[in-house]
């Protein structure tokens, strides 16, 4: 059997075949993976696309077939909370894109990280976080994991010595985003993994902003990769999904707990995610190109004080980003020169193409002021501590024509 046949699944019409393999990485192109990986070559009803399987439960032909299923002789679905056929396809596709053995999809990015942390941690355990991270991840760890006796320690992003110093014999997991949100700091994945391995602590990277197109942390030995698939993977601002990728051995307990907690995604959403992934490489090429061009435009603009974008030489992470990433994504953060929060807001309100809203990674550009959108109720000194400034704007470049976005930003900055 050729690589492609093996990669794109079996040739039988049995939709429950276990041979719906992930695409092997033996030289197959990324877009080929995006279009075909995880899908059965021949599908039910000979349809070229996967049907949306809206069912809450799955029927057995007879009692023996239940026993065969329990004895794991026949892989198949059982009940909607444990999995569904649309999920199987998307999980295999995402695993192939991340070069992982296994992926588990959740109803949102937060459901995914909560699912992993709840499966892996017990009272008395500790985790170490880099301090630049999504504020809801931080909130979950400090407010909720703490209630279950799990201790979270935070160290300065990228400070590997501090991270190593924070590890003790109760530490179970090291967590980082790369790039971080909204400062776009990139982490040296080799150093990060080396610390974990030296202390026998597992590692997790939130690669939502990077995506598997720009970096595949598993290739560097990271244990778990986490994405909010709502962003670039879905890509159309029309679904919520999260994913954890890693080895089958490490993820078995995570999948089992998801079956109990019930944070599964729906067949309709999963179909949209599968469809979105087909153009994943193309969209990422545009996001990367727009991100780089607009970051360069902003950096030379007289009204802009500072631009955070790893593709710029001025970014402290530029060298690390170049080493680990193919491109630098569509997210740009910048500070407006001599502007208070209201003057900064005026620039956002003057934009005609980017919509004002949280989130990122979709075809439509989005713009927001982190101080207003995510940190409005924080005390000013806390905002300072997290590096969230009143004059800071976060722009999530979509895939519109670069010239249009630049012209729009130029008029908004001059308004």
């Amino acid at each position: 059997m050729s690589a492609i046949t093996r990669a794109t699944g079996d040739n039988s019409a049995n939709h429950h075949s276990a041979d719906r393999t992930k695409l092997q990485q033996d030289g197959i192109g990324f877009s080929t993976l995006s279009v075909h990986a995880g899908e059965a070559r021949q599908k039910n009803a000979d349809s070229i696309t996967d049907p949306i399987c809206c069912t809450s439960t799955y029927t057995f032909t007879n009692t023996q077939s239940i026993i065969d299923f329990i004895e794991q002789k026949q892989p198949r679905e059982e009940y909607g909370r444990y999995g569904n056929p649309n999920e199987k396809v998307v999980e295999a596709k995402l695993a192939a894109l991340d070069n992982a053995e296994e992926a588990i999809v959740y109803s949102s990015g937060m459901a995914a990280i909560v699912g992993l942390l709840m499966a892996k941690l017990s009272a008395g355990d500790e985790i170490v976080f880099f301090d630049e991270c999504y504020h809801r991840s931080r909130e979950f760890c400090y407010k909720h994991l703490a209630r279950f006796g799990v201790v979270t320690r935070t160290v300065k992003t990228g400070d590997m010595q501090a991270m190593e110093a924070a590890i003790n014999d109760r530490t179970k997991l090291l967590v980082s985003e790369s790039p971080t949100n909204p400062h776009l700091t990139c982490v040296d994945l080799e150093q990060f993994v080396a610390i974990g391995k030296a202390h026998e602590v597992e590692t997790l990277i939130d690669a939502t902003l990077a995506t598997p197109y720009n970096v595949r942390p598993i290739d560097y030995g990271v244990d778990y990769v986490w994405h909010s698939a709502t962003k670039y993977l879905g890509g159309h601002n029309d679904l919520l999904a999260g994913v954890i990728a890693g080895s089958k051995e490490k993820l078995d307990s995570v999948r089992h707990l998801r079956g109990i907690l019930g944070g599964i995604n729906s067949p309709h959403n999963l179909y949209l995610l599968e469809r979105g992934l087909k153009t994943f490489e193309l969209r990422m090429q545009r996001h990367n190109a727009n991100g780089q061009a607009i970051a360069e435009f902003l950096e030379q603009h007289p009204r802009v004080e500072k631009v955070y974008y790893p593709g710029l030489k001025s970014h402290p992470s530029h060298e690390v980003a170049k080493q680990f990433m193919k491109g630098f994504g569509g997210l740009i953060t910048f500070n407006v020169k001599d502007a208070d929060w209201r003057e900064t807001a005026n620039i956002i309100d003057a934009c005609k193409i980017p919509r004002i809203g949280p989130s990122l990674g979709g075809v439509e550009s989005l713009i927001e002021q982190p101080m207003v959108m995510s940190y409005f109720n924080y005390k000013p000194e806390d905002r300072q501590k997290f590096g969230i400034y009143d004059n800071m704007i976060r722009l999530a470049c979509g895939i519109e024509n670069t010239e249009d976005l630049i012209a729009d930003l130029a008029q908004a900055l001059e308004s």
């Binding site: 279009v35 469809r275 193309l282 090429q285 519109e400």
Partner: protein, 381 residues
């Protein structure tokens, strides 16, 4: 604004009620009216629905038209055009014509006494000879199917204007990313939006676009009376697909060019029909009319008989053996037995569709993977 920006934003105003960045899908079949005898913008979804209207706005803009109508399929859209005419009227169509359109014109329209003549529209003598006082419509495809012939659209516009005909252009094979016939003076653009516009092989939709509100009204009257509009879920998927139309087209056209060049060097291939090749008779016109791209469709003939041709078609592993085209998945087809099976055998021969002809729709996969797949399939003969 540029094409790609418009594809994302025009017709996609955020929902005023919730701010949702993607407009909601309205499944309602009927709409509450303000009062007796007073009508809101929407009344019954056969006559119009918010989701359809949004996507119609996008397509009309991308095709540089003023109005668009969405149909349950491309054929439903083409049928709507023919319903403008009546007994005794006459249609001229280009000979390199999609099999479904051929069937509609020859086996359905003839029942209502509408007559059809097929010509090579690039031959002015043939066109002139076909003209009758009752001729009402000239129908062409931007890129002909399956020989990829390229009609001279400006000449067709001039001919239609001179003789007071409507010019209808099936723009399915080009998409507005490559060609916008309304800008050149065509009257009606038709799409099987199932193909490039939707782009993911998962929604069946047709479209008609016009730049003349009066003509739009006549077409809308037929659509509403005959009830052939598409459903809201299909319209939504179409709108979603169009957001990546331009980048898909650029990438797929580039891959198609590589494959055409590869096949034209291949010892088992006797002829490649792709407008991007200098050897193609329509190459110069394609350069003028297709925005620097040449489409993702090509046909080629293999050095072998019908059995060998079938062997190639069924031996590919990435190219799926199926009709349709224009999506992210590459497809391979045998026009003589598939898309053009509804031609009469002698008409098929006259149109130059041999049993050895294979048609490819080039998708979004990596070009190297696709070339590798074609090589292994051709090695079977």
């Amino acid at each position: 604004m540029k094409f790609r920006t418009r594809a994302i934003h025009v017709g996609n105003e955020p929902d005023p009620q919730t701010g949702a960045v993607v407009p909601p899908i309205y499944l309602a079949t009927t709409f509450i009216q303000p009062g007796v005898g007073e009508w809101g913008e929407f009344d019954y979804s056969r006559s119009g629905s918010p989701t359809r209207k949004n996507v119609e706005t996008t397509i009309a803009d991308l095709e540089s038209g003023t109005n668009a109508l969405l149909f349950a399929s491309g054929m439903a859209a083409t049928h709507c055009v023919t319903m403008l005419f009546q007994k005794g009227d006459h249609i001229i169509a280009n000979r390199d014509l999609y099999g479904g359109s051929y069937r509609l014109l020859h086996k359905i329209c003839d029942r209502s006494g509408i007559e059809v003549t097929l010509v090579d529209v690039n031959q002015p003598e043939e066109l002139k000879a076909a003209l009758r006082p009752q001729t009402k419509l000239l129908w062409i495809e931007t890129i002909g199917n399956p020989l990829m012939s390229i009609p001279n659209i400006r000449q067709c516009v001039a001919f239609a204007r001179e003789h007071n005909l409507l010019l209808g252009v099936d723009n399915t094979f080009a998409s507005p990313a490559l060609c916008r016939p309304l800008e050149l003076g065509a009257d009606i653009v038709m799409h099987s939006a199932t193909k490039y516009l939707g782009g993911h092989s998962d929604c069946l939709v047709g479209a008609l676009v016009t730049a003349d509100p009066e003509l739009h009204k006549r077409l809308y009257f037929v659509q509403n009376a005959c009830g052939s509009a598409c459903g809201p879920l299909e319209a939504y998927l179409l709108g979603r697909g169009m957001k990546t139309l331009e980048i898909r087209m650029r990438e797929q056209c580039r891959t198609a060019m590589q494959i055409a060049e590869h096949l034209s060097q291949h010892p088992k291939v006797t002829r490649v029909l792709y407008p991007g090749l200098k050897t193609h008779p329509g190459h110069e016109l394609a350069r003028e009319q297709l925005n620097g791209m040449f489409g993702t469709m090509m046909s080629f003939e293999v050095n072998g008989d019908l059995a060998a041709t079938k062997m190639v078609c069924k031996s590919t592993e990435l190219f799926g053996l199926a009709v349709s085209l224009g999506a992210v998945e590459s497809l391979i087809a045998h026009p003589a037995t598939m898309s053009h099976a509804s031609y009469a055998p002698e008409a098929r021969a006259a149109a130059g569709i041999s049993d050895r002809l294979i048609r490819l729709s080039v998708g979004l996969e990596d070009p190297e993977d696709l070339i590798h797949d074609l090589n292994q399939a051709l090695s079977k003969i």
